[in-house]
Structure formats: structure tokens, C-alpha cells
């Protein structure tokens, strides 16, 4: 009951957030709002220019030339011909905005059209269009615009065409990519079968799906286009007098920069404000339409999992602690407003030379348990909120960062699941192995290399000396995992934590790796914590097993006891899933139902919803892991092959 009452109000309060790193998103959204307000203000002022009580922007008054800012009648002063700067600024903004927006619309229209056609038609049409686009992109952006203006001659309209033209490739490329993906989708096939013509499919079926990308590309390029058209005008290639946009005002003001700086500073400030607010707004629009790029979706995990535990509530080590002693460990993930209790109080102990298996479905918390030991759970969003892990009596959660770093790869080594993604793709196997050695041993030069070769031979990699120069992608999956194991063995680890080390490998390689690990354990007398979801693997290597479900251990015992006489219905189901040669009638399908989501665990037994033996009483109170002896225990009120527990219904 306590669980439910604690999470329910917290959820209710934080519900609207729902996404990671609310603070960052708020920061971004505020900026986008600021951008929107400024853009709207500028646009409204520019639109209202004819109705505002402004002097004519083109009327010269040589007597009033170069009046400073805040003069009477001229709030922003006058330019070298005595024209009112405020009026010119507003009218100029009008022109700049109109040109920038028109260029964007033109570029978006033609670019999207090219992209749609190329992506949908594919084949030769696609190649032809995209080669052309590549050609255009081979020019430096502004240079091409200059070349076009050179051909068409200076002028605002020509500058507009030039800017629009050089931006077409951005749209064409983006839209083509999306269209290509969409045109292979089922709804397009369905439309084809319904007899719709290609233009119909393109504009009725595909275009609506591409629209967000067009909008994103527009919102991220419109700022550029305003800037670039202003730039061309600044160079004297855009707006020609007497017509003025912000760029040409700046260009004219530049000639009198030293005597009257305000004449050029003011239009420049306006361009800056306009472009900046457009960019802010554009980023906001992109964040909303494209969740992948949302700032909050990419948060950096820190070097070590955050530990927040009550110092008065640290469980002492067990009486017979062994090498690794995990006591009531609890690890959570805070994602948006919800808290996921991935590990909800786990006790484990591991003796020298012993192999303990942790088994469970995905999401049962077994990997998080393994990662928590050395603080490798990513923070954010993970954090350790209680319990302790003792390595030879030393509290790992309370140790200094430096101490943890010394122990990582030293006393406690990890082997992870997918050796392709866990090895760095850009360093040779030898470099990575040397690094593992040198992080903990003062070996340098040929001696370190010797050790690396020795390690590779130890894990039975043929031609070890040559393999040192290989990159991970040049090795097979089995070889890669051997390299990972070699790295883990580099410093005579006391505890080896293997997180599904054979899952990504095929069956033959799997058994080779298991034999290898088993042999090394006996040779080196290291303890292994072996995480897997496969009872076949467990029976091959583990002395004892702990079965995890929804972040808790539901049954534990020696491998033989547990396999022959499972007591928890979940364990029995898991064992049923193992295919056995020669028994084709055996059911190997998955357990019905899904594991519960750990942000809102029910009262009582978490397995109740999927359990064939469930009773009403299973759904109340807290069910303890009851230990029959030192190794054997089960968290079940009605264990199989046993008398039911004496349940006190309260």
C-alpha cells in the first residue's frame, strides 16, 4: 500500500511534464516564445508601416542631415540626406521581411517539388535530379548567389531569385530523403492498388506526411535568407536606391561609419534582432515537430551513478559476506514525472570462485542490478536510492570517485552483451586492450604489448600478435567477445560481472565462450555474476541462481535444486521455455502476459496477474523472500511442491 500512496500523488503533480529534463525544455520553450513575440512585433510594425504617423522615408532634408538618435521629431536621428531613420528602418524592415519570406517560399516550393519527385520516382530521375543538386551544392553558397546576381544584374528581385535558388538544394535533399522512405510504405502501396495516379499519390498521400519536414526546413532557413538578402543589398547588389532594405541602409551607412555610426548600427541591430528571433522561433518549431532533435532527449550520462541514500539507513554487511555482498540495493529511473523502480531491494552474495546466475525476462532489473554495483547505470535518469554493495567489506556506494575508478576494471570487471557496440569502433583491439592494462598496471612499451598478446592467447584468439592491429569491425562476433573477456581479465579481477555475454552470439560460439569463462573461473578463482535470460546457459555455468522479476528476487537456490524443483510459478514457467532436444511436444512459447511496468507496481506479488495459481491474498501486503536455508528461498505465498505459507490476512 505504501508504494501506491507514494507514487500516486507524485504522478498527479508532475503529469503535465511527461518528458525528460523539463528544465531544459522550459528554457528552450521560453526562448521560442520570446522569439515568437519579437517576430510578431516586428512583423506587425512592418505591416502597419503605411498607417503609422511616420515621415516619408525617401524625403530628403539636407538641413537636417545626420541628426543624432533621440533628436526632436527624429527618434532615431537622420541619415546623410536628412531622411528620418525610424521611418526608413520600418519601411526597410518591410522590404527585408518580404524578400526573405518570398525567397523562403520560392526555395521551399521548388526544392520540395524536386525532392518529392526525385524521392518518389527513384531510378534515373532521382539520379539526374540529385546529381544536379550535388553540382549546385559543390559551389560555396554565397558565391553561387553572387554568380547569379552577376548574370541577372544587381537588383532586389534578382537578389531574391539568387538566394532562393541557392537554397533549393537544402529543401530538395531533406524532402527527398523523407519521400524515399515514405514511398516504400504500405499506405502508398494501397493507394497505388486503388488506382491513384502518381501526382495524386504524391500530393494527397505523401505531401501531408512530408509537410512537417518542409516546415522545419523553412523555419531553420528563413533566418539565413533574410540575412543573405540583406548581405547582397549591403554589397550594393540587392536593393537599389531610392528603394531601401535593411542591408542597403547598412551599406549606405557604412560610408559614414566614423562620423555617424548610428546610421549603420541601427539597421544592423534590426537585422540581428529579426534573424535572432526568427532562429529562436525556428528552433522551437523544430523541437516540437521533430522529437528526435529535442534538446531534452539527449542527456549526457555522468561518470558514475548518482547515489542518494539515507546515511542512517545503510544496511551492514552480511555475517558471511564473501567477495561481493549486495544488501537491499534499490535503483530507480526518473523519467519525466514517473519513477521506475528498476531494482527494488535486492540481496545477493558471491563467494570466491563462485558463479551466480541472475535470470529473468527483459525489464526484470537484472542488468540494472549488475550495472549498479560499479555505478555504471546512466545518471540521468538513473540513481541508486538505497542499500549497499560491499566488495570485500568495502562499501562501493560510499567510496570516492577515484576509488571506484581504481576498482572498475581492476577488482571488478565487466563483460557486456553486444561486443560490436561495446568495443570502440575507432581504436584497434590492441589499443583498447593496452588501455585496460595500463589503467591499472604500470606496464609500458613492449612489456604491456606482451601482456596484451598473452591475454589474447588466454582467450584462445589465434595469431594474437597480428590481431592487436585489428579493428573491432574486422573480427567476428565470437572473436570480439573474446577480446572483451580478455579486457576484463587484464587485471586479475576478483569479480567478473557478465551481462548477457553470449546473447548476441550464435549457439556454437555461445558454448565456446561459456566453456572459456568456466575454465578461466576455475583457473583464476574469480567470482562471476552471470546475467542471462536463458536457463540453458545457467545450467552450463552457474553454481547458484537468483530469479528476478519486476526488480526483485523471487526465487534463489543452487542451480540443481532450482532446475529440478522450482518453487515459484514464474521460475517454473521460465524453465518451461527452454527447448529440450528430443521433446518437441514441450511448450517453448513465452509466458502469457507481460511483466508489469515498474513505475506503478501493484500490491503483493508482482507476478499475480500472470500466475496460474494466484489467489486473492496474493494481491495484498508485502510478500517476503523466505529463506529455507542459506541458499534456498522463494517469494511466494503458495510455492509449488511445498506447503502453502501460513498467511495472516489482515
Amino acid at each position: 500500500m505504501t508504494d501506491a500512496t507514494m507514487t500516486a500523488p507524485a504522478q498527479a503533480k508532475k503529469k503535465p511534464a511527461g518528458r525528460p529534463s523539463t528544465v531544459a525544455l522550459l528554457f528552450n520553450n521560453t526562448l521560442a516564445t520570446v522569439g515568437l513575440v519579437i517576430v510578431a512585433l516586428i512583423c506587425l510594425t512592418a505591416l502597419a508601416a503605411p498607417f503609422l504617423p511616420l515621415p516619408d522615408p525617401d524625403v530628403t532634408a539636407p538641413a537636417n542631415r545626420l541628426m543624432p538618435v533621440f533628436s526632436d521629431d527624429h527618434l532615431l536621428g537622420t541619415d546623410h540626406l536628412g531622411r528620418d531613420l525610424l521611418s526608413r528602418l520600418i519601411w526597410g524592415t518591410r522590404v527585408s521581411l518580404a524578400v526573405g519570406l518570398s525567397a523562403t517560399v520560392i526555395a521551399a516550393f521548388f526544392g520540395s517539388l524536386l525532392g518529392l519527385v526525385a524521392g518518389y520516382a527513384g531510378g534515373r530521375v532521382d539520379t539526374l535530379i540529385m546529381r544536379g543538386i550535388d553540382m549546385v551544392m559543390a559551389f560555396p553558397y554565397i558565391l553561387l548567389a553572387l554568380a547569379i546576381v552577376a548574370v541577372l544584374g544587381p537588383g532586389l528581385l534578382n537578389a531574391l531569385y539568387a538566394i532562393a535558388l541557392v537554397n533549393i538544394p537544402f529543401f530538395a535533399r531533406n524532402i527527398r530523403g523523407i519521400t524515399l522512405g515514405l514511398s516504400r510504405r504500405e499506405f502508398v502501396d494501397a493507394a497505388k492498388l486503388a488506382g491513384k495516379s502518381p501526382p495524386q499519390i504524391l500530393f494527397i498521400e505523401i505531401l501531408p506526411n512530408v509537410l512537417p519536414v518542409i516546415v522545419i526546413t523553412m523555419s531553420t532557413t528563413v533566418g539565413w535568407m533574410v540575412l543573405e538578402t540583406a548581405g547582397l543589398s549591403f554589397l550594393g547588389l540587392g536593393a537599389q536606391p531610392p528603394q531601401a532594405d535593411l542591408g542597403s541602409m547598412l551599406g549606405e551607412g557604412r560610408k559614414i561609419l566614423f562620423t555617424a555610426p548610428h546610421v549603420s548600427i541601427i539597421p544592423g541591430l534590426m537585422i540581428f534582432a529579426l534573424v535572432m528571433s526568427i532562429n529562436l522561433l525556428g528552433d522551437g518549431i523544430r523541437d516540437i515537430l521533430d522529437p528526435r532533435l529535442r534538446a531534452g532527449s539527449l542527456s549526457r550520462p555522468v561518470a558514475r551513478t548518482k547515489v542518494i541514500r539515507d546515511p542512517k539507513d545503510i544496511p551492514p554487511p552480511s555475517i558471511e559476506p564473501g567477495v561481493l555482498d549486495i544488501r537491499d540495493m534499490r535503483t530507480e529511473f526518473q523519467i519525466g514525472g514517473s519513477v521506475y523502480k528498476a531494482v527494488g531491494g535486492v540481496d545477493l552474495h558471491l563467494k570466491k570462485g563462485e558463479c551466480l546466475g541472475i535470470i529473468g525476462e527483459s525489464g526484470s532489473g537484472k542488468s540494472v542490478t549488475a550495472m549498479s554495483v560499479m555505478g555504471l547505470v546512466p545518471t540521468p535518469p538513473g540513481r541508486i536510492v538505497g542499500g549497499a554493495a560491499y566488495l570485500n567489506g568495502e562499501d562501493l556506494f560510499g567510496a570516492s570517485d577515484k576509488r571506484v575508478r581504481d576498482l572498475r576494471g581492476g577488482s571488478v570487471a565487466y563483460v557486456f552483451q553486444d561486443p560490436l557496440s561495446t568495443l570502440h569502433p575507432l581504436f584497434t583491439v590492441g589499443d583498447q586492450l593496452l588501455e585496460a592494462i595500463q589503467a591499472h598496471q604500470p606496464l609500458r612499451g613492449p612489456k604491456a604489448k606482451e601482456k596484451a598478446i598473452e591475454l589474447l592467447s588466454l582467450v584462445r584468439i589465434p595469431n594474437a600478435p597480428e590481431r592487436l592491429a585489428a579493428y573491432p569491425h574486422e573480427l567476428s562476433g565470437g572473436m570480439r567477445q573474446r577480446v572483451c573477456i580478455a579486457m576484463a581479465l587484464a587485471n586479475d579481477a576478483k569479480v567478473l560481472i557478465a551481462d548477457e555475454p553470449t546473447t548476441a552470439l550464435d549457439v556454437t560460439v555461445q558454448s565456446q565462450i561459456l566453456t572459456l569463462m568456466n575454465g578461466l573461473r576455475r583457473e583464476r578463482n574469480a567470482a562471476i555474476l552471470f546475467i542471462t535470460h536463458d536457463f540453458g546457459v545457467v545450467s552450463a555455468i552457474c553454481d547458484r541462481v537468483a530469479v528476478m522479476y519486476a526488480g526483485r528476487i523471487v526465487e534463489t537456490g543452487t542451480t540443481a535444486e532450482l532446475m529440478e524443483n522450482p518453487q515459484h510459478p514464474y521460475t517454473a514457467k521460465l524453465i518451461d521455455c527452454v527447448p529440450v532436444l528430443g521433446q518437441p511436444e514441450r511448450r517453448t512459447d513465452a509466458i502469457e502476459g507481460r511483466p508489469p511496468v515498474v513505475n506503478n507496481l501493484p500490491d503483493g506479488c508482482a507476478f499475480a496477474d500472470r500466475c496460474p495459481r494466484v489467489q486473492a491474498v496474493c494481491r495484498t501486503g508485502q510478500i517476503d523472500l523466505e529463506m529455507a536455508n542459506e541458499t534456498r528461498g522463494v517469494r511466494c505465498l503458495f510455492p509449488m511442491n511445498m506447503e502453502p505459507r501460513d498467511v495472516k490476512t489482515s
Binding site: 549546385v136 546576381v149 554589397l235 569502433p425
Partner: protein, 314 residues
């Protein structure tokens, strides 16, 4: 590696050819009759026809291209009629000045951008990250030509720390110190936007990389956080940033057009602007061709560097 570079160089040849075609076509398709433009509107039809024949404009477009590219291979890009000197000489002289300016700016923006991006990613959501994010936003929104004017006002006119314009002092000078002093303001101004873009992408790339499994492996090995970030993560991030730097080179060279005008730097950008307003089209043609070719070669270099960093691409 050598074979790869050779292969990439060969692949660049059609692109360079494509460039010549586009440059040629742009100039050939100019509306109006060049002969009339040169001789003025009072020219007699006979004179126009004669000039057209002299200029080879009575031939087909294809023949004109073949002749033009043949001349190009002999280093003949024609003669600038406003400067009355060979286009190639002028362009190369100007381009070397642009290379000094744009090269410095590119080095500057690569260093600053990478640095800012990494710091920003490492201190995600910290004060430094927010400050850098804001600066980057301001940087990429600032019109560089305006920033140049501001910097001239502040550092040249008011503080008198740097010269306001030119590449060398008119009297004396001409040494490296003189050049660096003249280079400081325009190179910085030119680098601002590219710095912002590189910083932004570096931050994203670093954040992306730091979530990878191999970073967890590096930490599980017991490596210091410094090594994890600056060796393991940075190298991976660099693979995706190098092509961005290549693309930014194009923006920097293009941006040089504004900066050279503002600071009166005797580069190819200010030459082009002048040539466009005087309609010296051969000069424009030569300038555009040289700069575009340099950009293609630069992107090729970026590709090669990327391949050197990432063995999977070989």
C-alpha cells in the same frame, strides 16, 4: 590509404568538370548581347558582328565550351577589360589573400567551435552550457558585415588596437606581425558564424556519443573521465564533425565576400563584388571557378581526414 585518396581524387574530376559547365553556362546564358554591351548601344551592326566573330560568339554553345575549356587548360581565363590584365593572374593573386583570411578564420572556428561544443556537452545544463548556447545563438544570428563594422568602431577607431582595413600597412610594415595585426579583426569576424555552427553540432555529436555502449566500456575499464571524454568520445564525435567543417569552409569562403568588403581586404571576394558592379564578367567567371574548385578540393580533404579517423569507412 593512398589508394583511397587516389580514388577520391579521381571521383572529384567529374565534379570539377560539372563546375566548369555550370560556370560556363551561367556566363553564356547572360541575357543581352555581350558585343553590344562592350561596344555600347550606338555600335553599328557590322562592328557587332565583327566583334562577335572575334569573340567566337558566332559558334555553337558546345564549340564555345570546348574552346573555353581548352584555353582553361592552358591557363587562359581571358583578359579582364576593367583591369586590362589576364584574369588568371588577378584571380590567383586575390585568391591567395582570401586563403590567408579564410584559412585563419577556418582554423579559428574549428578550434573555438570544437572547444565550446565539448565544454557545452560535458557541462550539459550547467552555467557554461547555457552561456555557450546563448553565445552560439547570438553568433549565428549576427550579420557578419555588421559585426565587422562594430569591431572596426570599437577596436580600430576607439581603442586603436588594430588597423581598420587593408592587409598590410601602406608605409613600412609588410612583415608577419603587420599581417597578423591586419588579420585579427577580419579573421575573427569571419569565424563567428562558423564557430557557432560547429559548436552546436559538436555539442550534439558529443552528447550522442557519450550515450554509446563503448563509452560505458571505457568507464568500466576504470579510465579517467578525462580520457573517456577527450579520447574516446571526442574521437568519435570528430568523425561526424569533420565533414561539417568541410561544409563550413564553403560558408567561410563565401562570407569572405562581406568581410573583405568591410575590411577592404584585397581578396577575391571584394574583387568579385567590384567585378559584378562593373560587369567584368570574365573576371567573375574566373573568380567563381577558382573558388569553387578550391572548395571541392577542400571537401575532398575533409573526406580523407574523416576516412583516416574512421577505419570502417576504408
Amino acid at each position: 590509404m593512398g589508394a583511397y585518396i587516389a580514388k577520391r581524387l579521381l571521383a572529384a574530376i567529374p565534379v570539377l568538370f560539372g563546375l566548369t559547365i555550370i560556370v560556363f553556362l551561367i556566363m553564356a546564358l547572360i541575357p543581352g548581347d555581350p558585343a553590344t554591351a562592350i561596344l555600347g548601344s550606338y555600335a553599328t551592326p557590322e562592328n557587332v558582328a565583327k566583334l562577335n566573330k572575334d569573340l567566337g560568339l558566332d559558334k555553337t554553345l558546345f564549340e564555345q565550351y570546348v574552346i573555353w575549356i581548352g584555353n582553361l587548360f592552358q591557363g587562359d581565363l581571358g583578359r579582364s577589360y576593367t583591369l586590362n590584365r589576364p584574369v588568371l593572374d588577378e584571380v590567383l593573386e586575390r585568391f591567395s589573400a582570401t586563403l590567408i583570411l579564410a584559412g585563419t578564420a577556418l582554423i579559428l572556428c574549428s578550434i573555438l567551435g570544437l572547444l565550446a561544443g565539448v565544454v557545452s556537452a560535458v557541462r550539459q545544463y550547467g552555467l557554461a552550457d547555457k552561456a555557450i548556447t546563448l553565445l552560439v545563438l547570438i553568433g549565428i544570428s549576427t550579420p557578419s558585415f555588421w559585426l565587422g563594422l562594430l569591431l572596426i568602431l570599437i577596436f580600430a577607431v576607439n581603442l586603436r588596437l588594430f588597423p581598420a582595413s587593408g592587409m598590410y600597412a601602406i608605409y613600412g610594415g609588410g612583415d608577419l606581425k603587420d599581417l597578423l595585426q591586419h588579420l585579427a579583426l577580419p579573421a575573427f569576424t569571419l569565424s563567428v558564424v562558423a564557430t557557432g555552427v560547429i559548436a552546436r553540432l559538436t555539442r550534439t555529436a558529443m552528447l550522442e556519443v557519450l550515450r554509446q555502449d563503448y563509452i560505458r566500456t571505457a568507464r568500466a575499464k576504470g579510465l579517467s573521465e578525462r580520457k573517456v571524454i577527450y579520447k574516446h568520445a571526442f574521437k568519435s564525435a570528430l568523425v561526424s564533425i569533420v565533414p561539417v567543417i568541410g561544409i563550413q569552409a564553403g560558408f567561410v569562403i563565401g562570407g569572405a565576400v562581406y568581410i573583405e568588403t568591410v575590411f577592404q581586404w584585397p581578396g577575391i571576394g571584394s574583387m568579385l563584388v567590384k567585378a559584378i558592379s562593373t560587369r567584368d564578367l570574365l573576371l567573375v567567371q574566373g573568380g567563381v571557378l577558382v573558388v569553387a574548385s578550391a572548395y571541392v578540393l577542400f571537401n575532398l580533404a575533409a573526406d580523407v581526414v574523416q576516412t583516416m579517423l574512421d577505419p570502417r569507412l576504408r
